[in-house]
Amino acid sequence: MSYSANEIAALAQKAARGAGFPPQQAQVFGAATVQFLAGGGEAQALLDALADPADSPILRLPLLVEDIQRAVGLAGPQITLTLQPGDEALAPAYARLAAVPITRTEVGQSEDGLPQLCLETDPNRDRAAPLPPRIEASAPLVDHLSILAARTYVPASDSSRSAGAGAGDIDND
């Protein structure tokens, strides 16, 4: 099924919060999920990332985005960054969140066996490639994200309904 980018970003953000991740990392994960799915990524990598809020690329990769921005400024249009094992699936999607126009991403391995992210940027472009108008997401992924997102919702109650919003129920005036 297809969704708007904002729908996917908002759902993934709430799912990450529901899974126990801090709000800023959850927000970045939402944006990265859009990039990941737009690039044809497999849903399992997203589910794996959401599994453990104490040890996850969702915590580590936002710092990678900053590293990319610094590295491009210092080292030029082609850079290679070393990743933590387990981060390679989502790293290209996070890389595209950096405020630099990335033209190619490739995940490889260093001589000592650590994963690496190789990037090419085009200094003549001033913005990233636009997103497609729709993002495809599988029903199992959306269902899983929705279950996690629901953990951020407060259960309904009469008192919440009457006092929480500060409004009446009927408006026939």
């Binding site: 801090p22 800023q24 407060v154 309904r161 919003a165 409004a167």
Partner: protein, 549 residues
């Protein structure tokens, strides 16, 4: 003239410590930079013409209609669907499941299949799915007392009672106007570069303005007669707004900064005018009188808010007198300084007045009221520079005592009941562990405390990921001075209504009518140009416009 009006050195921008306090934000008025005003100015400049290619509304008032307008080289169509709504289901709240009318702003001109699709989906609102051709989704309920009155009067060959038209101000009020990808509609990014609707909430404002025309046409259809244009012009479109609008201002700090900075830059420009031409001075006097008439028209049931309006009414004649006899040197600056002797409401009304005659140096600032690039990356080299940035830009949070119950009484949350945003009491209501992260002040103070003695910022960030939101806010405020509301949004004393009014004023709302500290009705487009006004001088001269018989 533009060469003469740089914002410095005589008068700079008002500081965030003054402008970004909730009580002042809650006294905001619309200006010529408000989004609906910017839109109608653009429509007028293009000579846009609203057409109604489809009117399939029955004698009972139910059916659908399509309106189309060309703007910036693109066609946009409003598909309006009117259905029967039992009185017991008419609620303005998010938890509603049915409405009198439903709308989609469509990208282009819909064919019959697309109209049929929208007519099936739009009445379901959030329960249906939409496509990237659907730009905005909205719904509106009748103001029952005025809608019925207008129809009955028209049916008997009379015009509606002008006093009742004024007291209510609209035939219908929208209860949601969804954009930017909600429920599958188009992401804003898909239309963000389009001339005419590239501005903040421009597509939403276009929708609202077109809905207003539909409400006019619907009563004329049911009443079998035409409304007097003056009365029709005074029939805006209502809106009922609750807590859902408030978190937006917190979650979009760059956008908030850019809105406020544009207005404050405009104010600094007019304050720095060395003198007024006779024509400019002469323009201010009738605008002051328009304010007086507007204040007389503005009546609300809430006694506290009515008292605020009454105070502005009492203070305004003195300011009008000052305007009549403005000093020759830096007259607008003198006016703003004089207003500081009065209530905050009067001060902010005076700001809006001061911008009104000076479109030539103000209007261009509307182009900067978007956020094309997002928040800045954090650029702190070490923990000490981050801590110093907090002390410099967030000094106001360091004075707060979050051990006090009153300072953390509230928590913002999303109810599982149709995801309605709500506000709870942390010490009485369940659900605080699911709190939405609007507690920016508390988080930044916690970061500042946690940074004490830290030598390796990178290691700190990896080990303490819970502080990243606060760090991002510090980075943002360091370069966007108006990005933060400088109050504790979880304090017992926090009034969400102030946040609602601030945002609604940027939309162009008037006649704020608070129903509680977290819910308000407002009027949009009252006095705004009718479609046939777009080619006339009236098209950009409707700030606080009242009823003129």
């Amino acid at each position: 003239m533009k060469d003469l009006v740089s914002p410095s050195p005589r008068t700079g921008l008002r500081p965030p410590s003054q402008v970004m306090r909730l009580h002042r934000m809650g006294a905001s008025f619309p200006t010529r930079l408000s989004f609906l005003r910017v839109l109608t100015r653009r429509l007028a400049a293009e000579g846009a013409r609203l057409r109604r290619p489809v009117w399939n509304i029955g004698a009972d008032g139910y059916g659908h209609a399509v309106y189309t307008i060309a703007l910036g080289g693109h066609d946009y169509s409003l598909v309006a669907v009117s259905t029967h709504l039992p009185d017991e289901m008419r609620t303005d709240r998010v938890i509603a499941t049915a409405w009198d009318t439903a709308y989609v702003l469509y990208d282009g001109v819909p064919d019959d299949d697309e109209i049929a699709r929208i007519c099936a989906a739009a009445p379901q609102q959030e329960a249906a799915r939409y496509t990237e051709r659907d730009l905005v989704l909205s719904r509106a309920n009748k103001s029952v007392r005025l809608f019925s009155h207008v129809v009955e009067r028209l049916r008997t060959g009379q015009q509606p009672d002008a006093k009742l038209v004024n007291r209510v101000g609209y035939l219908m009020r929208t209860t949601a106007v969804y954009g930017n990808g909600k429920f599958g509609i188009a992401d804003r990014g898909l239309i963000a570069d389009r001339p005419g609707i590239e501005g903040a909430f421009a597509a939403e404002m276009l929708t609202v303005w077109m809905i207003r025309s539909f409400t006019h046409d619907l009563v004329e259809h049911l009443g079998g007669a035409t409304l007097d244009p003056a009365l029709k012009r005074h029939l805006g479109i209502g809106n009922s707004t609750g807590l859902g609008m408030a978190p937006f201002l917190v979650s979009h700090p760059v956008l908030l900064n850019n809105w406020v900075q544009a207005r404050e830059t405009a104010l600094a420009r007019v304050r720095n005018l060395p003198a007024l031409t006779p024509e400019q001075h002469a323009r201010l006097i009738p605008l002051c009188d328009r304010v007086s008439a507007h204040l007389e028209e503005w009546q609300v049931p809430d006694p506290h808010h009515q008292a605020r309006i009454d105070l502005v009414r009492a203070e305004w004649p003195a300011l009008r007198g000052f305007v009549e006899d403005l000093p020759i040197d830096a007259p607008i600056d003198a006016l703003i300084r004089r207003s500081e002797a009065y209530s905050v409401d009067t001060q902010e009304l005076c700001v809006a007045l001061a911008l009104e005659p000076f479109g030539d140096i103000v209007d261009e600032l509307a182009a900067g009221m978007t956020d094309p690039v997002g928040p800045p990356a954090q650029g702190f080299d070490n923990a000490q520079s981050l801590r110093r940035a907090i002390e410099m830009h967030f000094d106001w949070v360091l004075q707060m005592d979050f051990d006090e119950t009153a300072q953390q009484r509230r928590f913002w949350y999303v109810s599982e009941e149709k995801l309605e945003p709500r506000l709870g009491d942390r010490f009485d209501d369940p659900g605080a562990e699911r709190e939405s992260p609007l507690d920016i002040a508390r988080r930044v103070q916690a970061l500042w405390r946690a940074l004490e003695g830290v030598t390796d910022l990178r290691a700190f960030r990896a080990a303490r990921p819970e502080h990243e939101l606060a760090l991002a806010r510090v980075a943002c405020l360091s370069s966007h001075p108006y990005a933060e509301i400088r109050d504790n949004l979880i304090a017992e004393s926090c009034l969400p209504i102030d946040m609602l009014r601030s945002k609604l004023a940027f939309f162009g709302a008037t006649k704020f009518d608070p129903k509680s500290d977290r819910w308000t009705r407002i009027t949009l487009a009252q006095g705004a140009p009718l479609p046939e006004d777009l080619g006339t001088a009236r098209a950009d001269d409707w700030w606080l416009a009242g009823y003129v018989a």
